[in-house]
Subunit: 372 residues, 2 copies
């Protein structure tokens, strides 16, 4: 039995089961982002209640604060943050590129200055593996080199070559240290050049990983281009392995990408937008600050089963948000993550029943309908 | 059967049961502050879990935002915020004095400018009664005139006379509107002048209320003076009615005041200080940001039964706080309120067993001991 079983397909969409040492993840799966050892505002019990199967932790953040020496005292991130489900950790590559004050990439690794205190650090492929191992990550990501959009072909080619070389070192480091029960995923790069994406994928497959990610998307390119690139890149990855599109996206993106055969997603959109008052519904996104909700005694979505919709009104959610009450961020986050996770459940149901196309059609009809 | 039963005493401390239309409140009782229709960061279920019997809502805040017309749509604050236990609402008097941009007191009432949008409002005793009735308050407070500390005798005397006149109008308004099942409490003023406090109390007793509050304390005077004034003022209030010391205080203050026969308290200290990283423990207050907690895998207080102490370490609480994670405010608030409410439970147990003096002695021994 492999770690990844495909149980049904509908078009290119796949229903799968990914076995990690801390439990099975049903795919397509969305991973709530718990950057600094906490999915912002939520308790682990709430994450379980809303249906989170797996969460994502950020290596870059946790390495800088609280630091590995702290998390080591707990034997890893799970006990530190009191979450016993699977955790995928990113490699730190994207955060070095997007958050560090200064960074310099050499063959050895990425030298960067902390966005917190300006201190200087070197993140090598081997160091990223060590940190993720010490975090107790269940799905470890290879260190990759991210590039800006737009990037010329030469830059993209150089970054992908480095990413492949680093992926090889990650795999080698792991082979030397021996298995710890975690899975290792490679990350394909190649900018917006399909042939470079193909080269990147081939390089990773040649090394061999438990799963494969499409990285370097959602870095500023138009949404159409993101989807086109994923559409080109996903079939380049092994069919029998989990395929993870990193850092994407809006609900419609998840539907599109699952339809292309993507199995895993993470994105700060549901959590970050919750804190900015944007709530996702079957009928599209809603700004809870809208004055029309001021005296609205009904739930945000009467058919939503989340704690916020079952217990509070639009007027109350609006009041909390406009008053900047801390409970607002929490109720909004619960709702948005519940929406995302429910969307994944619904997609899995549609794939299981071979009706993903109908599901997708209905999804768009609802999304463009008026909020009742 | 009156609404307030004294079930035991220990010295001057009283164990009581205050019957409201939404349940019995065991006294001495602490009321978590839910200023704007939310005890900051907590769900109503969490309030119940940590042992909150009754919460406080602020008339001034709720009147300004979301406004009575919104809360009216829900038939009151309980359904608006999803809390079905008793709610005490203050009258707005203290907030006009402490928060409004500008205010002017006349015989008619208090004219003030909103701290939110600068809009102008008139709060009369009758209007305060109407607002609190529309909030569905279970314990309604009379509108009082607060004064600064220090205040000269003439100012204090004038404010207490006005407060008595307003209290009479509050009672009259209530008599005219007929009972709605809520209780009405008068508020004694008189600054730091014991004879004025006596005059204020006598005036309120003459009018007649369900309960009596000592107002105008904790307005900047030295703690010794606050305690002296409460010590003088509390025996002036009817023994068979609940006695509420408003806006106080630190854990030791609650122990002192309960020892003087005070029955009810409210204060932002446990909730506000939680958000500033100060956690209350048996061994005194602790700043969770302290570097000595950085790698500390133990709970803040191993004997504390709160959700935060049962599930998280000092190192994690410190990490969340130094990272400004939203979960920090929530876990800290849960801990501090649990501590306060547990302290009240312990005091009630000590009074029931006639050992309040011993309890108090042990309390101080622990508070000055080193955190293990």
């Amino acid at each position: 039995m492999g770690i990844f079983q495909i149980e049904a397909t509908s078009g290119r969409a796949r229903l799968g089961a990914l076995t990690t040492r801390r439990g099975v993840v049903r795919t397509p799966a969305f991973m709530p982002v718990g950057t600094a050892g906490s999915v912002k505002s939520l308790s682990p019990e709430e994450l379980t209640q809303i249906g989170a199967q797996i969460i994502l932790g950020n290596t870059y953040h946790l390495y800088l604060r609280p630091g590995c020496e702290v998390i080591d005292r707990f034997g890893g991130l799970h006990d530190f943050m009191n979450w016993q489900g699977p955790i995928l950790t990113d490699s730190g590559g994207f955060q070095v590129f997007s958050l560090a004050k200064l960074f310099k990439i050499t063959e050895e690794g990425a030298t960067f200055q902390s966005h917190i205190d300006g201190s200087s650090h070197l993140l090598t492929p081997e160091r990223s593996m060590e940190i993720q191992r010490s975090l107790g990550s269940d799905i470890v990501m290879c260190l990759d080199q991210c590039i800006q959009y737009p990037a010329d072909r030469q830059t993209a080619a150089a970054a992908l070559e480095r990413t492949t070389a680093w992926a090889r070192r990650c795999r080698q480091h792991r082979d030397e240290k021996g298995p710890d029960g975690s899975l290792l995923f490679g990350i394909a790069q190649g900018g917006m050049y399909p042939d470079l994406r193909a080269e990147s994928s081939a390089g990773l497959i040649d090394i061999g990983f438990d799963g494969y990610a499409v990285g370097g998307l959602s870095v500023g390119e138009p949404k159409e281009m993101m989807l086109e690139m994923a559409d080109a890149a996903l079939p380049m990855l092994p069919e029998d392995a989990p395929r993870y599109v990193m850092g994407v996206g809006a609900p419609a993106d998840l539907v599109e990408l699952a339809g292309m055969g993507a199995d895993m997603f993470d994105c700060v959109m549901p959590t970050r937008n919750a804190r900015n008052g944007q709530l996702f519904t079957r009928f599209g996104p809603v700004n809870i600050a809208n004055a029309r909700f001021r005296q609205d005694t009904g739930p945000l979505d009467p058919e939503c089963g989340c704690y916020a919709c079952r217990n509070y009104s639009r007027a109350y959610l609006r009041h909390l948000y406009t008053s900047r009450e801390l409970l607002s961020y929490r109720l909004n986050t619960i709702h948005n993550l519940y929406y995302y996770l429910r969307l994944m459940t619904d997609m899995r149901g549609a794939i299981a029943e071979g009706r993903f196309d109908t599901f997708k059609k209905d999804f768009y009809i609802n999304q463009t309908a008026e909020l009742p």
